[in-house]
Symmetry: D2
Subunit: 402 residues, 4 copies
């Protein structure tokens, strides 16, 4: 069978409906917030937008059918999530914002039936939000997850968890946490992590300050979270003990790719705004869009959009085949994070003073997309991993040929 890059018609139709929904019902709301995109408008707006998305038949494209979703695989999420990302409020409206979307993905793969009932079902339906508590301040787990320092030790009928997390997206207002804690080994060792599920209202969990980051649109912010003698029952263990790093990989590859999908939509909006601007604005005796240096920026944006999409298509296809796709997702994430930043940056530049003002959405987009070069693995860490694989392959090839 020949190579086929066309989407199934029901997927294309869902993407088209999402485009219409975003344009007609979400962008006007975002723009009415007049540049204040903090927490995507907050909890009340989340509920309203999600109801609108349900009414439009575009809610939860990623969630399993039994939980009211559309059950899309990774490949098919790409065009739909990109349309949703066209508005900074779009992912929340469709219930596909980080980290909930990735948590749904992981719970669907790993949780046991009761856990699914208790945690996955309400999350997929948008009744609660969630948080994934992994990152820690130095010298704990940052770019290097093996430094994990939060500890879970066996206690009567369960586990006692102590640790300090930060940059925990969505923590403020989350209904439950997925907690990564060390159950064996020492910080610096690769194994020994376990994931735990814990309702947010239990004693022993405290959500601290919001890290005041360049990006503002994530509902629930990026927070510090403290676990002080948090007691969880045995049934809180997600999957098996000591396999937490392994499960994190199940979440990580797809989560990277859905980030790319959403931010690509945001970048495309920036580009569209800029091209519309220069297509009509005059200067230096010419339409701006006919000036060569502006044309160069437009073309470079088009190239960056196309390459991001193409790399994404590839990585999603590998994931859908059941491959870990660690290299393909690292490549796509690294390229995309930098390309998306460039696209928005050029779009600002094309619009001159207006571009850096709140009269256009470009300045706020520029703040939202910058951290993606750091979140989900800084570009440098991905490059390091990509290179290590290439060098190892070269060594193997040499050994094999000897």
């Amino acid at each position: 069978m020949p190579i086929d890059l066309s989407y199934p018609s029901e997927v294309q139709s869902l993407a088209d409906r999402t485009r219409t929904f975003i344009r007609d019902q979400v962008l006007p709301v975002e723009d009415a917030h007049d540049g204040d995109i903090t927490a995507a408008g907050g909890e009340k707006l989340r509920v309203e937008l999600q109801q609108a998305a349900r009414d439009a038949g575009v809610f939860a494209p990623h969630a399993p059918l039994e939980y009211g979703g559309h059950g899309l695989n990774m490949s098919d999420r790409a065009p739909v999530f990109e349309e949703a990302g066209y508005s900074l409020f779009g992912p929340t409206a469709l219930n596909i914002a980080a980290p909930d979307e990735g948590n749904v993905h992981m719970l669907a793969h790993i949780a046991d039936p009761e856990q699914k009932q208790q945690f996955l079902a309400p999350l997929a339906r948008g009744e609660v939000r969630s948080a994934f508590a992994m990152t820690e301040p130095a010298p704990g787990a940052g770019s290097d997850p093996s430094a994990l320092s939060t500890r879970a030790v066996r206690a009567d009928g369960g586990w006692r968890i102590n640790g300090h997390k930060w940059f925990i997206t969505g923590a403020d207002g989350a209904g439950f946490f997925i907690i990564m804690a060390r159950t064996s080994g020492e910080p610096g060792q690769r194994g020994g992590a376990t994931m735990f599920l814990a309702p947010a209202d239990g004693p022993g969990i405290r959500v601290g300050r919001h890290l005041d980051t360049l990006d503002k649109s994530m509902i629930g912010g990026h927070c510090e979270v403290f676990f002080d003698d948090l007691l969880v029952p045995e049934s809180a263990v997600l999957g098996e003990v000591d396999r937490g790093f392994e499960y994190a990989q199940v979440r990580l590859g797809p989560a990277r790719m859905t980030h790319v999908m959403r931010w690509l939509g945001a970048a495309r909006r920036g580009h569209d705004v800029a091209v519309a601007h220069v297509a009509h604005r005059e200067g230096f005796g010419s339409r701006l869009g006919d000036l060569g240096m502006v044309q160069k920026m437009i073309a470079d944006n088009e190239i960056d959009i196309a390459a991001t999409r193409a790399l994404l298509t590839r990585a999603c296809w590998e994931l859908d085949r059941g491959e870990p796709a660690a290299n393909a997702t690292s490549i796509a994430k690294t390229y995309a994070a930098e390309a998306i930043f460039r696209i928005v940056d050029r779009s600002m530049q094309m619009c001159g003073g207006l571009g850096v003002s709140a009269d256009l959405p470009l300045a706020r987009l520029s703040r939202e997309v910058r951290p993606f070069r750091i979140y989900d693995g800084p570009s440098e860490v991905h490059r390091w991993a990509i290179a290590k694989r290439a060098v190892s392959a070269a060594k193997r090839a040499k050994r094999d040929s000897e």
Copy 2:
């Protein structure tokens, strides 16, 4: 006499004192504002910081001696302004923030004695602030100044001015305006502009909304300003009628360079913060600062800082010789604006999640420096001017050789 790049000892001493002043008295205040650098802390803080600068003997390095300044030429301003720019509040403290600093420079060159008494003296002493009202919304004077649309027509004993300006830095709270208005010719024609001096409290001047830009630190913001039948006397004309574009050049070259000096200081702070971070933080079994990809970012920052400084030195030297230095200042401004952005961007990247949070000053620096690639002439407009000169020179050379 051989080439000499050393600063006179009194200049070096002033730069050193400025460094100490900024470190001991200004940075603590900036940091105490906890990331809110809006309007450099506001008017009350301006007065306090400027008194502290007077006490430290570093106030008004650029102003003529007779107005209490240090009377530095462009070359000697470079190291002092760079030190001042190390804090976002520093230029205000020394009374060398835009647009006041450029206005002092221009008034010292062009104003008549009474105008100097009325406008320059209090401005140089920090008693009032000022604004330079030139930029207009489309289709008026933006990147292309010849599109100037604000009109001044002769009226009884003076001039009547009508027009709409925006992106007028410092307008909110300014004591007076320097207004660029068309006194002859039509929008699109190169000549016909005149500069007028007008107190801000006169009828006919209205400061509108703040453009809500990515940068926040400019005291008085970037505002819309409306002139509705503003009447000014004949004595309000700065220099001569119809020579406004020419005078703007007097202001423009130096103002570009002092922008570079200040932002270079800000970039150097970002770099210092990042290097201090990676010099002590560990990860991946190594100090971050010993990892090759981090070293690359550090070295590229050092190269960008050195090249910016070197181009600045050249352009200032040409200006001090009395040359228009249009090419040298375009080259230095274009390189610097892009280099400064890269320096801060890499500094953020080196610090990971912390870099995009308010726990370090990098995210706010990144917002402040981005617009400089647009303000004072977008990079594209400077490149266009640089290229046009090169092509014209090539044509002349060919004609001469024939």
Copy 3:
């Protein structure tokens, strides 16, 4: 049906056989030429290598089945051509070098049965080579084809052609020419071109000097060609009169993509050589391949390879669906030409002094790939076309919404 990026098994098998053939039978020959890759070893070697390719069952993957080829569509050519391009002599060995490969493609689409018999059949079988005579010296057809100046005027029973071409790849030794000549209109007008088929040995065709270009490996060189009252019969017209520009498009999109495939193979070889080098060489107390700045170059190469391949996949799929794919091929070509150059350039850099010597193939690869940023449309011309489409679309979108 879901998105599918896997190749049919017979295509994968052909790609694998090609890889083995290149490694075992072509690379040793290329390396034995000790850096002299002029004209891919010349005519005698061409015949030998093509026989070997026939014996290995990898000859003419692109040619129609009836002419002894494998009849691959564009998508399926990608992996096979990339393997062939791994050696600079590989495309000649498989009979898929430019311009023959593109000429086969076009003749298969446009030629009439007799023309196919006379020209396509021997070309597809490797019995002759061909040239595509389109580019002219200024002020004729260069990057801007509408400047076409070579003229064909009706003469007794046919056409008389006069004109001057250059950069005609493969001209020296070609068996026949496809000549683009103006049959109506004036230089600067978009229509009016016709293609003619002419045996190379007729009076009126003269192959002039070789342009001595940076690249050396093309058999038959890049030559000047002069048509002085060349008489061709009516049957020499390829397709219809005045539709030449249209047919050129039939050739152009696919030819751009097969160029990308071949050069991507060359770039991959460069990368492999460099990674093998740094995987084993030590310096600064470490294996070079473990140094961060080297890892960055390796990872950037991997990203560039992956993105080139992904954009190629997309463009080929559009071509195979029968779309003109003008935008997709422009995007893929522009990205690829620059990426391939970067890959080889980084590979040289990784190998230090050896990298720029003939002890490794990198320096010669760097010379071969550089012109691709100019040949087949300079990057600037493609960007211009990409931007024009984007701006036009923005204008249409605005009109439609009004």
Copy 4:
């Protein structure tokens, strides 16, 4: 005294005379070689061109007055060497090509009176050429000089040298060698090197093959050199035993900068050729030089030229003050090598197909300048050194503040 960037009038005059000499007497010879710039035309041409330079009063600008030179310091060499570098044959004509120029510089600083008489005097006068034998194949001294493996051991009345060098510029035909050999310690240790002076015709020295590098213009090539029991007397020691690495630094900083000067001249020629081309060539209904994407390339070239010159000025000034200037020369070299490459690369691109042909000098310039990113320390090694200094300074600063 204020900052002064003007050259003394006699230096400016020498630079002007050099410009005229190159334009009138050297470029015609280079162009007559029709693209074959191998070894700058060879030995016979060297003698002729050097006589012409003497007649024009521009010979040996760097050499001490007592040896017939102009005795310029580093700052003043910059404009003169840049003019000489405008032709690939220019440095040879003025006797300031590598490695002779650097060897003159070092011998003038370190040699004793007899050594000066025997080696420096004829070298400065252009009677012989020389070579600096330092680089070794792996695992010897490459980018990391401490790996030095060539050994000198005491023998009757002198030293016996054994070792294998390569990439020894100018070796073929050199009159004498300056040999870096290890006299104590082991490869990998930082000290223990000594420099020896040895006539080329002695037994025990063998010049092997030329490394066939991308660049071709160096007279005497880049060769392998073998020392097999080479015996030299005690008087062959240059300076003191075991201080060779220290002396190498004396040579290295200035040699890097004179490389930059010469290649900057070559880059400027490339730029001039390209600008002249686009200033007169038409396409797409416009002069090429008026198209925005071409203007961007022109402007970027102008910026790169200006920044290279400015960094060079700074580094030379530090050297002239007697500072080691290790950081300033690393920064200037790294920036310059990459900028010069970009300038020539853009110049090629501006000229399209002609740019990569031998009809313009751009393709050959592109081959000459590429290796400079590797020779004299690859960019990566310089960046590593720059970063290490910055990180060390940050650590010191922290310690001092505690």
